[in-house]
């Protein structure tokens, strides 16, 4: 999981290894294993390769966005507009391809570009005009969704060529295609956050933005890039989504921002900024998906599942807080 670094042996040994082990991520991994075990016992259709791979397919869209959202939340921000950007990009793929008769790869690229641009606009509103991210992206949540609905004219687009469905429905060496995409994005996210100057700036901004600026770190540029990346990932998720469900509709991705933020926060990223890991987000993502699927298979109704996920979120955050206090932070 950790990127290879020649310097790793030079890290000072932690004083108390037991305590450092009991971090949020470890805790989450344990809960995940427990959930897997319990659900497997309760239902024999749950712990099968086919089912788990299918669940991986279903969680990819949320996962892609959640990786970028981890960065956003670490800077102390939030991006509520990702669901609307997803909808807008999905609609635009259809419009570019069907109405403007562009080749599908070009339509996909343009759509990704629009997603990135939408994120960049969020970033500009936040950094230039100093609008709090919550307000800025709440506004663009409405704005981008409105654009998507206006452009689509409530018409859905179907009939994409077969190769396009490989992205959302096909597999490579037995693993769903989009899961490879998620894996690649996760690796990039982990390495960038852990080991690059960009990742360092992300943490520093979240912990003390002024302190970061006084150290010569490019605060505005970093935030701008992060919001742009968030838009890009929402665009990417849109492509996967369209390919998976074979159609484009303007209401796609409605409410997905809440699933994304739940995964990020459950993964241990502080909503106040400054701390968090991509690996935590991935664990949070898996835990939610496992619960959703396992409980559904065990006959728990949808509303019951939502209640359980809410309860797990609260319990995980509570235990994490207790651990933090115990670690003397």
């Amino acid at each position: 999981m950790s990127p290879r670094s020649p310097a790793l042996p030079a890290m000072p040994p932690r004083a108390v290894s037991l305590r450092s082990l009991l971090r949020h991520e470890t805790l989450l991994a344990l809960i995940l294993l427990a959930a897997l075990a319990l659900l497997a016992l309760a239902n024999d259709r749950f712990l099968t390769t086919a089912n788990l791979l299918n669940q991986g397919r279903l969680m990819t869209e949320v996962g892609l966005i959640a990786i970028a959202m981890t960065f956003v939340v670490i800077t102390g921000g939030i991006d509520l507009s990702v669901g609307s950007i997803l909808g807008l990009c999905a609609v635009l793929v259809g419009v570019f391809w069907k109405n403007l008769e562009l080749p599908l790869p070009v339509a996909m690229t343009l759509s990704l570009g629009v997603g990135t641009l939408a994120g960049l606009v969020n970033g500009l509103i936040i950094t230039r005009f100093r609008v709090p991210p919550l307000i800025a992206t709440l506004a663009t949540l409405a704005l981008y969704r409105g654009l998507a609905e206006g452009i689509s004219q409530a018409k859905s687009v179907r009939g994409y060529p077969a190769w396009f469905f490989e992205l959302g429905q096909g597999s490579i060496v037995g693993i769903p295609t989009q899961l490879w995409l998620l894996l690649a994005a996760a690796l990039v996210g982990i390495v960038v956050l852990r080991s690059t100057t960009f990742g360092r700036a992300t943490y520093a901004i979240g912990n003390n933005e002024q302190g970061a600026a006084f150290s010569g770190l490019p605060v505005a540029r970093t935030k701008l890039l992060i919001y742009a990346a968030s838009g890009f990932m929402a665009g990417l998720a849109a492509l996967v989504f369209v390919s998976r469900v074979t159609t484009t509709r303007s209401d796609m991705g409605t409410g997905i921002e809440l699933d994304v933020i739940t995964a990020v926060v459950l993964g241990g990223t502080s909503i106040f900024g400054g701390r968090g890991f991509v690996t935590g987000t991935l664990l949070g993502l898996c835990l939610i998906q496992v619960l959703k699927n396992g409980l559904a298979l065990s006959g728990v109704r949808g509303d019951g599942t939502v209640v359980i996920i809410g309860a797990v979120l609260i319990v995980a955050v509570l235990i994490s807080n207790v651990l933090k206090r115990w670690n003397g932070e």
Binding site: A7, A10, S195, T197, A204, N208, F214, S215
Partner: protein, 531 residues
């Protein structure tokens, strides 16, 4: 040095030790006929995990006395204050209130016992009014249970009048108050709970001279009313002026408790650091080189038409009242608020410093006044803080080279004698002086030619202060040009080769070391022109 064994009864403990360490005034037997102590600590020990912070603290506070608590940063003063205010409980030893051993279960219990703390960083609610802040949590209520606003405002008014603050409006939101007034509100809050014991943690650290005078008057009048006051400060003159007794803490132990009249400044300093400090300001001026930085007619915001030059190997002190534009000038040179007029020349060539990055590129470093907000990212580790300004140099190929970064931090810890568990320790856990050393290490890692120090010894204990002065000598000897902004006149006069005095955003005068007498600098600060 810290191997002395405490012997004898707690009350007199430390006297023998102190005599050995200080070689100063002979130990006086404290007057016995005083009132019984309101609060007393007996043989207190306290550890946090593996760190033994308090190793035997004895302390007592009588009603109507100002008892100064002194010690280097990291000596255990803060922990001791937290014990008295109920935030921590001792591992060994007892806290006595009115002579009876008491277990303070929390801050509420301490408040109920009449113990209140005026914190270093004022813990007020900025959006609420003065009256609301004073009565937060125990506001007067009507019989219906609703807040009794008229009575609350009336009582707030009465308390503020008692503190001699007729100019403070009880309906003003706290966010609009000056630091000095916020502090008065915090004191008023303590009094509103009928505090018999007031613990003041560096109350004057952020105050200008005139406000310090007013605060000391308040302390005197509270003392006259019978309030016992624990007064923590690094400023010697204040301690000698206001306190009745002084307790010195070192390495978590009580070294001595003495009547203030029985100790000298030098004796006190050597008790605190455990060694003699011959001179407080050991400026050793070396050879002065070429002009490194020149500023011509610089203007930005409050700063107007400032011109001066600094040469290699020189310390230029900048004096001025709070609000005279000293920090703004520094931040303009450092690119935080880029200049709107005038010129900056480095090594004779005009340059534009439009950002902090540009300043770092021109090898300018700035150790800011506000350590917590601007100097450090305190929730992060020593390693991450020290490398923060040179991250791009540590990452020649995108990835930050963790090994080099760790070595850099380890070297800094050794070179600056930073007291820490290691490079991975979070900066917020360090004492003020050690945090300041981390800031210095961070900026010296950028290999600067021009070093701007803004209040470099604020909130720093005597021992660390001297270390910082020594470091300044060493740096100028290596050819750095140093600009030092300070509100402490003795520091400016003691360490500067030349003194630039600011007033109202302009240069009031530049004085050579020989001309820079307290009177001359003081006059320029007040009037805006050198005599």
């Amino acid at each position: 040095m810290s191997l002395e064994v405490r012997t004898g009864p707690p009350a007199g403990a430390g006297n023998g030790v102190a005599r050995l360490a200080a070689g100063a005034a002979p130990a006086q037997v404290p007057p016995m006929a005083e009132d019984a102590p309101v609060v007393a600590l007996r043989g207190i020990e306290k550890s946090f995990g593996p760190i033994h912070v308090l190793r035997g603290v004895d302390f007592d506070l009588r009603p109507g006395e100002v008892h100064a608590l002194m010690g280097e940063n990291g000596a255990g003063k803060s922990t001791m204050i937290r014990l008295m205010s109920g935030a921590h409980r001792p591992d060994h030893g007892t806290v006595e209130i009115d002579g009876a051993p008491t277990r303070l279960s929390g801050p509420a219990a301490a408040q109920a016992a009449g113990i209140a703390v005026v914190h270093q960083e004022l813990l007020l609610f900025p959006a609420m009014t003065v009256a609301e802040n004073i009565f937060l949590g125990h506001a007067p209520r009507r019989r219906s249970g609703l807040l009794d606003w008229p009575r609350m405002r009336e009582r707030a008014r009465a308390i503020l009048d008692r503190l001699d603050c007729p100019d403070l409006d009880v309906d003003e939101p706290v966010s609009r108050l000056s630091v000095a007034n916020r502090q008065r509100v915090e004191i008023a809050r303590a009094l509103s709970r009928d505090a018999r014991v007031l613990i003041m943690d560096e109350p004057t650290a952020a105050l200008a001279e005139a406000d310090v005078r007013r605060l000391l008057d308040v302390v005197r009048s509270l003392r006259a009313e019978g309030v016992g006051i624990v007064y923590v400060s690094h400023r010697m003159d204040e301690i000698f002026e206001i306190s009745d007794r002084i307790t010195v803490l070192r390495d978590g132990r009580t070294i001595a408790t003495r009547p203030t009249g029985a100790v000298t400044e030098a004796g006190l300093v050597s008790m605190m650091v455990g060694r003699d400090i011959d001179r407080l300001f050991p400026r050793e001026a070396g050879p002065v080189g070429e002009t490194v930085l020149e500023v011509r007619g610089l203007g930005a915001g409050k700063v107007r038409d400032v011109s001066f030059r600094v040469r290699a190997g020189e310390i230029l002190g900048i004096a001025g009242l709070v609000g005279s534009g000293r920090t703004e000038l520094a931040q303009t040179i450092f690119g935080v608020t880029p200049a709107t007029s005038g010129e900056i020349l480095i090594g004779g060539a005009a340059v534009t410093v439009g950002s902090v990055r540009a300043a770092i590129g021109h090898r300018i470093a700035y150790v800011p006044e506000d350590r917590a907000q601007h100097g450090l990212v305190r929730p992060q580790t020593i390693r991450e803080n020290i490398s923060m300004a040179i991250l791009d140099r540590l990452a020649p190929r995108v990835m930050v080279e963790r090994g080099r970064e760790t070595r850099l931090a380890e070297e800094a810890i050794a070179r600056f004698a930073i007291r820490a568990r290691g490079p991975g320790q979070v900066v917020a856990q360090l004492s003020g002086g050690n945090q300041q050393k981390v800031v210095l290490a961070k900026w010296l890692a950028t290999d600067p030619r021009i070093l701007i120090l803004d209040e470099p010894t604020r909130g720093v204990d005597v021992g660390a202060k001297t270390e910082i002065y020594r470091l300044m000598n060493q740096l100028t000897a290596e050819g750095l040009a140093v600009i030092m902004i300070s509100s402490e006149l003795p520091e400016v006069l003691g360490m500067s080769d030349r003194v630039l005095v600011m007033n109202g955003g302009r240069v009031a005068g530049i004085l050579d070391r020989a001309e820079a007498t307290p009177e001359a600098v003081g006059a320029a600060m007040m009037t805006g022109h050198a005599a």
